[in-house]
Symmetry: C2
């Protein structure tokens, strides 16, 4: 039994859950209020961030480290392409969504719209929300370009790149920030990924006081 | 022959060079002025960032993707530990230095002290420099803790984690930002890494108009 220390709307945490679901791994979730900087948790991950994965005595921290570890400990079904160059392409996209999209879009929107409210840190900073929304537009245009020319984001086959992107999109969609009619190829691609069995537990997440839009759980939206 | 698109003081670029040196791979460097957003370069890496690695027809972008690719194409000498949990530990530190240290320390210091001057973007922002220096203190304390209890950062053996940390430290040391007497364990560890043959080409880098401190190239400092 694996343990995932996580936060509900954190895309890197959602990605680790998706990978465990895809690989049929048994896991339990523990919500970690990272802002409390709990000492025992900082020992597990000095960066103070979720996700952290615990497997028996092994504590695995670091977004990329956890995903590579899961692929190594449970190689089937593989989520990384077999071909070395295609694998590098999937890792490029993985890094894009885990770090670049996270920093430019998700962190500002989640911080201003959810975290500040929950922690009573004062009102949202409208300029930061606007910056996050502008960046979201650029990222969705890039996704539209990728989804329009390929079956999946890294080529013909489903891979960890699709899960990494969908983990981000699912959080942003929960916040109601995506105007779907503007991005038909992204919608078609996301409907495919969202329909996978691995996605079901995520779509049941529900944050008290923050209702997602009606289409959030719909597979045909 | 590999081609590395790079910038001289960029630690992720320095790390790719170090890995090629450690593995005895033949490479050439091409300096890429990423701020010019050259169209042909953006096709290679839509993130617009260096490093980018070219191997024949294969274009590899993404910091982690390039390092994993180099390990896969040239497995000997291996820079990732054999044991799965130790490997995850090395990847955690790799991510720490490639992303966290970079964002909290190197990007603000390099932007304010070097890039703005070079691009004539106005005077440095003193508050951002101070923030970078404060973060540097926290990171050096963590490094002092790691280097004090272990032979190398991830344990008994030399690994990619040491190269990733040393690539950052070498850039910060070029800027003269490290007060070495405060961090004796870091100094001892860095002297070991800096003495490796792979480090020699880096220490010869010289940026016009920005002289490093006298101890920068010294192996006994």
């Amino acid at each position: 039994m694996l343990t995932i220390y996580h936060l509900w709307l954190s895309p890197p945490c959602r990605l680790v859950r998706l990978v465990c679901e895809e690989k049929g791994l048994d896991y339990q979730l523990k919500a970690e209020k990272t802002w409390e900087r709990r000492e025992a948790f900082l020992k597990m991950n000095p960066a103070g961030e979720v996700p952290v994965l615990v497997n028996g005595k092994a504590v695995i921290a670091g977004r990329m480290a956890i995903l590579e570890y899961l692929e190594e400990m449970a190689p089937e079904p593989s989520l990384f392409p077999n071909d070395m160059v295609a694998r590098a392409g999937a890792r490029r996209l993985l890094e894009w969504f885990l770090f670049k999209f996270q920093k430019e879009v998700t962190t500002p929107l989640l911080t201003e719209r959810v975290l500040k409210k929950y922690l009573k840190m004062g009102g949202p900073d409208a300029a930061k929300i606007r910056a996050g929304q502008t960046n979201l537009g650029h990222h969705l245009s890039y996704l539209e370009h990728l989804a329009g020319k390929r079956n999946y984001l890294n080529g013909a086959d489903f891979s960890i790149a699709d899960l990494a992107a969908a983990a981000q999109i699912s959080t942003i969609d929960y916040l109601g920030e995506i105007n779907w009619p503007d991005y038909p190829h992204v919608r078609e691609w996301y409907a495919k990924v969202k329909s996978r069995r691995s996605f079901r537990p995520l779509l049941k997440d529900y944050l008290a006081g923050l209702k997602p839009p009606d289409h959030y759980t719909a597979l045909d939206f």
